[in-house]
């Protein structure tokens, strides 16, 4: 048993240093493409660390969003930046010349960082080694929440406000992206037979996995955000294999799906206020079904919003307005 504990410590230390090393590569390696690939591996390593810290819900979200979707976003932006930075090559060479003064200026932030790091380290080490936090409150109210996975209970019931606002943040980000409306054309891809077949095989599987995650979230790791992220990934795969939204669906139906999550949330919140007197306080008897409805609609909205964020430019009929 001693040896096993030692092995686990060694594994943790290796993971920790691996994470720091990948972060360094992502931030300071000379090749930007290599940086982005390091960042994606950083996200995957992070997911392993979440499992080590007994946070499987976070691990699922990190693997799907932190490593998957964020990486895809960075790679797409990198591809779109390429022609521009080739044109601006003349101007981007001169930083090399004036580097001596910049090199000197690097020492100041480095010293400040060391100071901040040591301050934070002292603060963390001064914390008591044991703290219960809100665990006992959550577990004692779990039966009234309608689900048995404590993280889902916190997200959808106890701290429903946060989740409502988060879905609104996603929607706002998409609105901002659409209104900035980059004129850089989206990536044109010729999928080829393999990618085409892969997307035909994988998209149904991804939709099924998304539904599974949504359902299982009530009593095991999973839930609306993980399910939505998987759905968003299916959307990204469809976009990459050259699939386009049927034009008739680009207007009102698309906007309805995008806002359905927020609307349902607000409607249910107001209904619960009328019934029980408190905003977003679910009656324990109906909590389970209310959470399921909320999660289903939220998953759909999150998935479509994430895919739309990846595409970046608004659908054609909105551009005309």
């Amino acid at each position: 048993m001693e040896a096993l504990a030692l092995l686990q410590d060694v594994f943790d230390i290796l993971l920790g240093f691996g994470l720091l090393w990948l972060a360094w590569l992502a931030l300071f390696s000379l090749d930007l493409f290599r940086s982005i690939v390091s960042f994606i591996s950083f996200g995957l390593l992070m997911a392993i660390i979440w499992v080590r810290l007994d946070a499987p819900d976070v691990a699922l979200a990190e693997a799907a969003i932190g490593a998957g979707l964020t990486g895809a976003l960075f790679l797409a932006a990198f591809a779109k930046l390429q022609p521009a930075s080739v044109n601006g090559k003349g101007s981007s060479i001169n930083p090399q010349k004036q580097s001596s003064r910049k090199q000197l200026l690097r020492w100041l932030p480095a010293l400040i960082m060391l100071w901040i790091a040591s301050g934070l380290t002292i603060a963390i080490l001064a914390l008591p080694p044991h703290a219960t936090g809100l665990t006992s409150e959550v577990t004692s109210n779990l039966t009234a929440s309608g689900v048995s996975n404590p993280v889902t209970a916190v997200l959808l019931n106890f701290r429903g406000y946060d989740t409502l606002l988060e879905i609104v943040v996603l929607l706002l980000a998409l609105l901002a992206v659409w209104s900035i409306g980059s004129s850089v054309p989206s990536i044109e891809s010729e999928p080829g037979p393999v990618l085409d077949t892969l997307s035909r095989l994988l998209v149904p599987i991804l939709i099924m996995v998304s539904a599974y995650l949504l359902w299982v979230g009530a009593h095991a790791p999973g839930g609306a955000f993980q399910a939505g992220a998987v759905l968003g990934a299916a959307g990204v795969l469809l976009v990459l294999s050259g699939w386009k939204l049927y034009p008739g669906l680009e207007g009102f139906p698309l906007r309805l799906v995008l806002t359905a999550g927020s609307i349902t949330f607000v409607v249910i919140a107001i209904l619960t206020m009328l019934v029980s007197g408190t905003f977003m306080q679910f009656p324990p008897a109906q909590a389970s079904i209310l959470i399921l409805i909320l999660e289903m609609v939220a998953t759909l909205s999150i998935g479509v919003t994430l895919a739309a964020l990846f595409i970046g430019s608004p659908p054609t009929d909105i551009k005309k307005l």
Binding site: G192, V194, L195, T197, L198, L201, L202, I205
Partner: protein
């Protein structure tokens, strides 16, 4: 008891394939040979680990889920390797010659 030993042997064998694949990924000279190294780890290494773990699984459903993960990785790994190699070929990356 016997299944535990068999499972341990399979897991170690899988880990060895992963190690070999990783060394190949780091040491091989070009994209194509690196992909070659990687697929060994993905397909065979993961397969051995999945068989080893499913021997210890608590139920048939859990073993079935592990097996599905392996199938998914086989499908995705093969397709993605093809896409990477195709992109490299289109970009004009030459085959490594001694």
């Amino acid at each position: 008891m016997l299944t535990e030993y068999v499972s341990a042997v399979l897991l170690v064998a899988g880990a060895i394939f992963y190690l070999a694949g990783t060394i190949g990924l780091l040491r091989f000279p070009d994209v194509y040979t690196r992909l070659h190294a990687l697929t060994k780890a993905d397909n065979l290494g993961l397969g051995l680990i999945v068989i080893g773990l499913s021997l210890q699984a608590s139920s048939f459903a859990a073993a079935g889920k592990l097996f599905l993960i392996w199938l998914l990785v086989l499908l995705a790994g093969a397709s993605v390797s093809h896409l990477v190699a195709r992109a490299a070929l289109h970009k004009g990356v030459h085959l490594w010659k001694r």
